[in-house]
């Protein structure tokens, strides 16, 4: 039984929160460069150049790349042979978020109550998903999820008779409706199947997969590629200012579902696809 200490989790999480906001992953920066080579619109190119410069500035000066430093979302895989010492996993993650956001001068974007809307003052609570796995590793993935793109995300229970065409149409319509509001070029996370609550989780989980990495199932990988091409023909472009770079990537996760059901969820991510990964 491996012992993992509360304080170590706090430290790692605090570090991840800052890293996520200061340093855009290599996958995203590379995607910007590829997009810049392919973009046909002058304004679109101008926007991409500014995004590249912004990412560079954020990492060299250790300031947030975006003022919306996001809801801290965690997907944790906890090995069943781990023993956590000193407190609960949930408390440790929230303590890490508190520390990371305060020390990094990150913006607190959470209100305690959706109606009364008073800021919680430390960006907690984080959204934490825990999956139990074999082994003795504690695997933590973190994303700083911005509000603009999250607000344009959708979920619908389609009918099995809607089929693949219905699914595709719904996804493309979502991206079209989101337009500039979701800060394109986007990473589009999609869940298909499962049920009402799992489909949304799959869509979110898809966003944690690095840009350029396709789904392992060939048919789903092909669908990702096809949707990306169709989305990039919409003309929306970087920041909605026109062009052929509306999505940097499309990610799909699927799961078995009920004979009567065809749930689809689309979770949009802005161009600042901030995700970090550590293993303890």
């Amino acid at each position: 039984m491996k012992e993992i200490h509360y304080a170590d989790i706090v430290e790692k999480v605090a570090e991840m929160c800052q890293q996520a906001n200061f340093e855009l992953g290599e996958d995203v920066v590379n995607a910007f460069q590829t997009a810049l080579r392919n973009e046909v619109s002058e304004t679109g190119k101008d926007v991409l150049n500014q995004l590249i410069e912004n990412a560079h500035l954020a990492s060299s000066e250790r300031v947030p790349m975006c003022q919306d430093t996001g809801v801290s979302v965690f997907i944790v895989k906890l090995g069943q042979d781990c023993h956590l010492v000193g407190g609960s996993l949930y408390d440790a993650i929230n303590d890490g978020v508190r520390k990371g956001y305060e020390e990094g001068y990150l913006r607190y974007s959470i209100v305690d109550d959706p109606i009364e809307r008073k800021n919680s003052g430390d960006n907690t609570p984080a959204v934490i998903h825990v999956e139990l796995t074999e082994g003795d590793r504690l695997d933590i993935q973190m994303s700083a999820k911005g509000g603009g793109a999250e607000n344009m995300s959708v979920l619908k229970m389609l009918k099995p008779s809607d089929g693949l065409e219905g699914v595709k149409e719904y996804i493309i319509e979502t991206v079209r409706a989101a337009g500039p509001n979701a800060c394109p070029p986007l990473v589009v996370g999609i869940g298909i199947g499962g049920n009402f609550e799992t489909v949304a989780y799959m869509a979110k989980k898809a966003l944690f997969r690095p840009i350029g990495e396709r789904n392992k199932k060939p048919a789903i990988a092909a669908l990702e590629q096809l949707l990306m091409e169709e989305i990039n023909r919409l003309g929306i472009g970087p920041q909605g200012m026109g062009g052929n770079t509306t999505a940097l990537d499309v990610k799909i996760e699927t799961a078995p579902c009920h004979i009567a059901a065809l749930p689809v969820a689309v979770n949009l991510n802005c161009h600042a696809s901030r995700h970090k990964h550590v293993v303890l």
Binding site: V40, N54, L57, Q67, Y105, L234, G235, G242
Partner: protein
């Protein structure tokens, strides 16, 4: 890349009506920040017959909720937030003399119509480029609603703040025009 330099607050109507949807601009001068809660409070003050914290005439509002400034910095990261959330309040402010807004994303029909009627302009800044935009902000002063934290009203002095004209005083919409121009079958 050619960019039109403009000065705010606007000094004449010509300065506004000469701007066309799709123009790339560099904005210098004074802006006021206000987003969701600040807008709600301003409208409540108007309903109560109170004075607003600043005179709207010819001014430009920037929809932003910056991150806290690190020691030695003027402001933290300061990119635009989604403007559509302010749509409900915007026509009232335009009628009171507001001439420009900077944010990102679509405005609704009522706002576009009010922009046209009141000869105003809506600029789109690059969502997420908060570190880059912060560099163009030279001075920050708290004006009102300190309790709202990041959502408080602040006066900013900016130099060459990059933006694109989205909705011009004639009612043209760059998001629509650009999409028509670049979409392919």
């Amino acid at each position: 890349m050619s960019r039109i330099k403009i000065q705010v607050p606007f000094e004449s109507e010509d300065g506004i009506t000469s701007l066309k949807a799709g123009d790339r601009v560099l904005i210098s001068g004074t802006l006021y920040t206000a987003r969701d809660s600040a807008h709600k409070r301003m409208i409540e003050q108007l309903e109560n017959g109170e004075k607003l914290p600043f005179d709207l005439a010819n001014q430009v509002i920037y929809y932003v909720g910056p991150t806290p400034a690190k020691p030695g910095q003027v402001i933290g990261s300061a990119g635009p937030t989604t403007s559509g959330r302010m749509d409900k309040f915007t026509p009232t402010l335009l009628e009171l003399g507001l001439k420009g807004m900077i944010g990102k994303g679509y405005r609704n029909k009522e706002v576009i119509e009010a922009i046209k009627v009141n000869k105003a302009v809506y600029f789109g800044a690059i969502g997420g480029s908060g570190a880059l935009i912060a560099r163009t902000i030279k001075h920050v002063e708290l004006v009102a609603y300190e309790d709202l934290g990041t959502e408080a009203v602040r006066k900013l002095v900016v130099e060459d703040f990059p933006a694109v004209v989205i909705n011009d005083a004639e009612g043209d919409d760059w998001y629509q025009l650009a999409r028509n121009q670049f979409q392919s079958p």
